[in-house]
Amino acid sequence: MIKEFCAWLAATPLSEHIQDAFWVIPTVQTVHIVSIAIVMTSMAMLDLRLVGIAGRRQTLTEMAHRFLPWVWIALIVLLCSGTILIIGEPGRELQSVVFWIKMSLLVAALILTLIFQTVLRHRKGFWENHRAVAALLGSVSLVIWIGIVAAGRWIAYVEHG
């Protein structure tokens, strides 16, 4: 099923345009990496703040207000640039196990971020009063984001359909 879809997608005029223009993939990958820099740094700052080893001069709410809007904006850019990369090389992505591992990790990371954001908004002082839970959430989230970046690079190396 996925194989047929990839073949169909790769034969669309848009995909052929992307494949023919040598500069599209490297340029879009550059946009993708710069956006990852924004998400990764913001999440690392927040996660390390949750663990308690960075940014302690600001409250968690202040840190979240500073960094989370950038995370969501950069994630939209990542979604768009990632989609262009998939259209350009469908088989490399959609038929790769590593790609789907990356997507699963991404879903997990987004759920954790939403939990953090929702609890922060609706239960004042929760993260400050539950240090252990905060540290756990922060460290798990950080490890997942590191996994996402690593998986992204490994897509280029693991055999795909």
């Binding site: 993939i25 990764m40 740094t41 960075a54 500073r66 590191i146």
Partner: protein
């Protein structure tokens, strides 16, 4: 002379190991990407403050105290992993203009940082406070830095397509 050095790098135990292993190159490259996104991201935090576009509620000094230790740690990791990747085919990489341009950009980034430190930052006590606007010199330094680092990423990615 330089050729001998490049040969020595390729023949070194680490250069040989990275070249001959199937998993070392992607693993080191993953660490390189992870380090460089933290370098670029944390520098962007400062650059955007210098441009008065983010973190306005904090002074530049507070901000650099907060993020620059992370920047330098990540930069050291990126430099070490970058050297390892380079060593695996030093002769080939040194002949690629995108690689040479990337190294020049890193030098430019250092010069830009030096000018900022000797220039605008020296009068920081006159302008650097929470919600304060940065002077022209600081805004230029931030904008130039932002442009340089995006170019570094683009050139680095381009090397992989040559």
């Amino acid at each position: 002379m330089i050729k001998d050095l490049l040969h020595a790098l390729e023949a070194s135990p680490w250069g040989t190991a990275v070249r001959e292993s199937t998993w070392l190159f992607p693993t080191i490259e993953s660490i390189h990407v992870l380090s460089l996104v933290l370098v670029v991201g944390s520098i962007m935090v400062v650059d955007l403050r210098l441009l008065n576009l983010a973190s306005r509620q904090r002074s530049v000094k507070e901000l650099t105290d907060e993020v620059l230790p992370w920047t330098w740690t990540a930069f050291v990791c990126a430099a070490i992993t970058g050297t390892l990747l380079f060593s695996s085919s030093a002769m080939r990489y040194s002949g690629i203009w995108q690689f040479e341009a990337k190294m020049c950009m890193l030098v430019l980034a250092a010069i830009n940082m030096g000018i900022f430190h000797l220039g605008a930052l020296r009068s920081a006590d006159q302008w650097d406070r929470a919600h304060g606007r940065t002077p022209v010199g600081a805004r230029v330094a931030g904008g130039v830095s932002l442009g340089i680092w995006v170019t570094v990423v683009a050139l680095g990615r381009w090397i992989g397509f040559v």
